[in-house]
């Protein structure tokens, strides 16, 4: 069971009894998982709203990279295919590629990150989002991992 070692909830959605985020121990890291997001094998998260997908890197990815000091983002209007390397997140430790999890057109990028890339460390699922894609092939969503599958993936890595 993926949920076996899941820790206590840290955040509750207002009014609802649903747990939105929870913590998982992965090696020496305590990683926050959001159960409403989809994930990739390469540690991106995706939030879907109609035809638009917002993409960022997971809490696990930012904790592995640590001090994030720079980003390179695609241009709005760029057409990207699933699996393309479309952005780079630079930490003191390493430069990490970010892959397009879906095919479509980039509609917006988080320009705030150019001056404040540390937002990815501080709020990976919120202010640290990277770019938005207008999806062309909604069927590709089936290839993404749900939160339980993602927890299994990162546990296997540690």
């Amino acid at each position: 069971m993926a949920n076996a070692n899941i820790g206590p909830a840290t955040e509750y959605t207002c009014g609802a009894s649903l747990m939105a985020r929870y913590e998982v121990k992965v090696g020496s890291l305590t990683v926050v998982i959001d159960d409403e997001l989809l994930y990739t094998e390469s540690d991106e998260w995706i939030s879907v709203d109609g035809d638009t997908a917002t993409v960022g890197i997971t809490d696990y990815a930012q904790k592995k990279l640590k001090d994030i000091v720079g980003v390179e983002l695609p241009e709005p209007g760029d057409h990207v295919s699933r699996g393309d390397s479309v952005a780079v997140v630079e930490s003191i430790k390493a430069a990490a590629d970010v892959y397009a999890p879906l095919t479509g057109e980039i509609t917006e990028v988080n320009e705030e990150l150019y001056d404040a890339p540390e937002l990815i460390n501080q709020d990976p699922y919120g202010k640290g989002w990277l770019f938005k894609i207008k999806m062309e092939k909604k069927g590709e969503l089936d290839n993404l991992l749900n939160h339980e599958e993602y927890v299994e993936k990162i546990k296997k890595e540690s």
Partner: protein, 373 residues
């Protein structure tokens, strides 16, 4: 990781929530809270590093000085007793650098040195085999496992240390050292006024349990524990070289020692008879092709982080390569160092750094240190 040897104070680092990584076969504390915060603590206040992964070696015997003179590029005999020599180079016969070191003169017949972690064993067997080859009476002893080593670094290092150490320690002059001094109520083996960050500070050798006590006391006083990741960012800002990056023994991979532009009086040209001298002089006669330079990313590419093995180009021509690079928490930009064809080594001129993906960032060639000191 399973093969790496943990540093002796690992349990304390775990208590301090360090994340660990491998460095030269050792499991070392890479970071505690944030490399940027730790870096800034060393520049603005003080930080303490566990550098037990470095080698600790004693060279003794009636011919000890003779052996060292034959192996290093600096006149070792000029070192005052109870002082460190200042950095110098051990070369191979291609005038490539085996290691850069400071030699601690206890007496003519007793010297200490701290080899880089990756070459501790190599340097010990090198000294032993050279002593044998030259027929010199020298004994080399590896003290690495006997003592742990801490570095207290930062503009407020003296202030912190004076709370747990006497004047004989706090008043050490730069590169001076003392044996057997007491810190935090425990005996140390050695304390020196030295370091590798560009800041004032001290390096302390003590038995692991005693070093642990000193480390706890310093942290209790508010000194920030600093990981090996910040040690690297600090040395890159200063332009300090590291074996395996700026220098190494392989002549196909590294230019000759002269190209390293080590400075700090590491080479005495009026000295003769040391290993590598013929090749070093040949290199000097012929002139160097490559020269080590520092560079800082231009404002527009401030967040482009140069890294080892990225290419350096000018007008689209390949003219060099990056040997070390990082993000500078002080300049808030990427910066680094590398080798460049001497014809393009013009201070203040722009160069282009190209990563493996083909991304480009523009930097300016700058003299060391790369921060204003």
């Amino acid at each position: 990781m399973s093969q790496a040897r943990p540093v002796p104070l690992k349990n304390i680092h775990e208590e301090l929530s360090a994340s660990f990584g491998e460095f030269a076969g050792w499991e070392v504390p890479m970071m505690y809270t944030s490399t940027i915060e730790e870096h800034l603590a060393v520049r603005k206040d003080a930080g303490v590093f566990d550098i037990s992964h470095m080698g600790r070696v004693i060279v003794r015997g009636s011919d000890a000085l003779e052996l060292l003179e034959r192996l290093y590029t600096k006149k070792i005999s000029k070192t005052k007793p109870m002082f460190m020599s200042g950095p110098t180079l051990a070369l191979n016969e291609y005038a490539r650098v085996k290691d850069d070191e400071m030699l601690y003169r206890v007496s003519d017949e007793e010297w200490l040195f701290v080899p880089n972690a990756a070459v501790t064993k190599t340097m010990i067997s090198y000294l032993e085999s050279k002593a044998k080859e030259y027929g010199l009476r020298v004994e080399v002893e590896d003290l690495t496992d006997k003592y742990a080593m801490l570095a207290l670094q930062g503009p407020n290092a003296v202030e912190y240390l004076s709370k747990i150490a006497g004047r004989e320690v706090v008043d050490l002059k730069p590169l001076e050292f003392i044996l057997g001094a007491s810190i935090a109520g425990v005996d140390t083996f050695l304390v020196s006024r030295s370091g590798w960050t560009g800041e004032d500070g001290f390096e302390i050798w003590a038995e692991p349990s005693k070093a642990g006590k000193i480390l706890r006391e310093l942290v209790g006083l508010g000194v920030k524990p600093v990981g090996i990741a910040a040690r690297d960012t600090l040395r890159i800002e200063m332009g300090f070289v590291l074996g395996g990056h700026e220098y190494g023994e392989d002549p196909m991979k590294y230019p000759c020692a002269l190209s390293l532009r080590y400075g700090l009086g590491a080479i005495d040209w009026d000295k003769t008879g040391f290993v590598g001298e013929p090749a070093l002089r040949a290199c000097r006669k012929e002139g160097v092709r490559w020269i080590r330079i520092g560079f800082v990313m231009k404002k527009k590419h401030a967040r482009f982080i140069p890294r080892e093995s990225y290419r350096i180009t000018v007008e689209g021509i390949d003219v060099g390569w990056v040997t070390s690079g990082t993000y500078s928490p002080i300049r808030k930009r990427g910066l680094g160092m590398g080798y460049i064809d001497v014809r393009y080594a013009i201070i203040d001129e722009p160069i282009t750094i190209v990563d493996h993906r083909g991304r480009e960032g523009v930097a300016k060639i700058q003299e060391f240190p790369l921060i204003h000191k």
